[in-house]
Amino acid sequence: MVSINDYHSDYPNHWCPGCGNFGILEAMKAALAALELPPEKILIVSGIGQAAKTPHFLECNYFHSLHGRALPIATGAKIANHHMTVLVNTGDGDCYGEGGNHFMHAIRRNIDVTVLAHNNRVYGLTKGQASPTSMEGMQTKIQPGGVIMGAFNPLAVALSLGAGFVARGFSSDGDQLRDLIQAGIRHRGFALIDIMQPCVSFNQVNTHKWYKDRIAPIEENHDETDRISAVRLSLGTDDRIPTGIYYRRESPSYTDRIDKLKDKPLTDHRYRPELLKALLTDGYP
């Protein structure tokens, strides 16, 4: 039996009091414990940012990597050893800004990782510049006239790229978030959970209250296997922000499709010089 306490980390937390990241952290622990995944069996890869500090704050294997590069690191690690359960903690800047290209191509690869995008619609760690998901018009110290780019819509983009698991959570709705994370980990293939998260220090627009006034669980009758409905939901027509699973459809994940990995992970092979014998004498005949 794995318990939430098994994930306790002694390392002191760095986040601001009241930050939405705390809710995400707790939901992660709850989901992992519920899945009976002990800390030593999971690998968390993260980029750089406040969100990306997450793996320091729970017990696990982790690779706290470069800003924007969590997904390629996770991809390489997963290909090397696809028996690992790989999660990615990333921020909206990390994942959709600096790491935007990897986001798109990791989806195309359908690599089996669960991406938790802590979407606070701002660059937290660098003190409050606009992020790709900042709303048009949001003013910051660096954007005093307000953001003049359209906000990045992670769910719509993921759907347009054919992602097989697309969900939205809210850092303050721990139970739902726990369930989403569980479902994401269970999903074989790329799973995106975009998590709305208040940043008490730098985002005075999308506050806790702002979210509370808008979020609503996706309606019961939504068909989560219908891509067009999911797209429509993601594009939104009114003020409401639906939370839950927008779309889910399993297809073989990237490592499932590499024949060489059917047998066992790359890490489990021994070096066998005899395999090279014939190759080593090769050249132009």
Partner: protein, 569 residues
Amino acid sequence: MTVDISVLIGGEAGQGIQTVGLLMARTCHRAGLYVIVVNDFESRIRGGHSFIQLRISDGPVHAPTQDLHLMVALDERTYRLHQSDLQEGGLALIPKDDGDTMVQHHQCKIVDFAGLAQKAGNKILSNTVAAGTCLALIGAPFDLFENVLKTTFEQVEEKRLAQNVQAAQYGYAAAEEHTFRWSWRWDRTSPKGRLIDGAHAVALGALAGDCRFSAFYPMSPATGIIQRLVDMAAAVPLVVEQAEDELAAVNMVIGAAFAGVRAMTATSGGGFSLMTEGLGLAAITETPIVIVNAQRPGPATGLPTRTAQADLQFVIHASQDEFPRFVFAPGTPFEAFTVTARAFELSDRFQVPAVILVDQFLNDSIFVAEEAFEAPEAARPFTITDGDLDDPTLYRRYALNDSGISPRALPCRGLARVKVCSDEHDEAGHITEDAAIRDAMAGKRHAKYQAMREQIRPPEVIHAGSDIVLISWGSMRGAMIEAVNQLRADGINCGGLHMIDLWPFPDAAMGEILEKAAQFFVVEQNRTAQLGQLIRQQTGYRYADAVLKTNGRPMCAGEITEAIKTKLK
């Protein structure tokens, strides 16, 4: 050497000049001759002007030559561009008379390659015809060529073989009325080693280094290495992944290495530039990776299909702040093989990135490699498992010790939890801002240099104790050594020094050798004598002068010899 001739086959991209060169090279090789095939092609798929130079000799040759004896001009442009290089008495084979420039010249001979090919059954056999005529001119016994054709086509179709042999015969016949000035009597001896290009050798070295994962983004002249890995992947536990860009490529490699397999990427300068941040990530997380930088002329896109050696200082200093790394630059396919295998081992052992500098000339040219390529009997594991730890739950990835090398466990392989971090970190792998820990960690990484330096092999010395020393690195080895021999033949007391292991720089070994030389010259394919600068920085010795070439074409011994003679005057 009694035989040393060069054949140029030129035409448009897509005309199959490589085929002509390769058929000839293989025929010569089977007779026990030495050859080198140098590719000169443009960055386009069809049209333009490409050529290959085939140099044939009865002694080892590792560089192209300036002398041109025989030319196959598949188009008029080839003839026009290279005509003036043709030696007195040399010959150009041309496909037809365009009534203008070509046939006027006494050095020209018309061979109707296409017509003869058609007669043999197919126009695409032109290449076989051309190879046949050339081989006939230089005196190659027909059966040798026939055998080469057999090896090539026996897997394919009976009919295609027969047509090729027919085409070859027509080619031979076409040469009949002509005696070629440098033709020689062919003694058949057993083939010397085998024919191999540098890219293939790097790929073999990777397998001998137990490489299991490679991620890349296509870029000339590195793609050949990846192509070879792909071609061999079926036989070994190796996955090759095409990434969306070079940022992804290097980080995938780092992720895979972290998870526990040896991994590499290959790129060229522009791609290496993009990998610079990742190099630093490998360094601070102490993840072993191998990056091959196949050099081409730059800056930026530059000349994608040409050769250069201008990234030495860049790769030594690449990425912010300072950290230990290996930099190697093999000069031959055999060196490429051994160095790549060593790079994997050393990178893994010291938990540092290793960079291998090759270039278009080495990667794309076909050399005779006489040495046997041998894979190590076993790959030493440099990682630990739970069993090696008293209490795996207390495992700390960056435990401090004198060597700077902390025992490395792998994630999800036991109870030990592996925590790595690109921020400066404490022994456990957690972010730290502590000044003392920062210094200890940076010091720990730096401390590896001591033992790394012991792994650095001294430069190869040619004619030790000479007054004048020519120094090369990487692919300039062949031309440099040939130049040394030419200069000695001309009575100059000249020796050579060839560097493969470039960083950590072998200060002491180099200092000792250079102390004894009256003067030394660096031979490099760049503009600022980068190795020369490095030698001065590391040893205090200053190069007397430098023989440099930057136009993207490989250096020939003759160019070096001439330059040195002028400089010595």
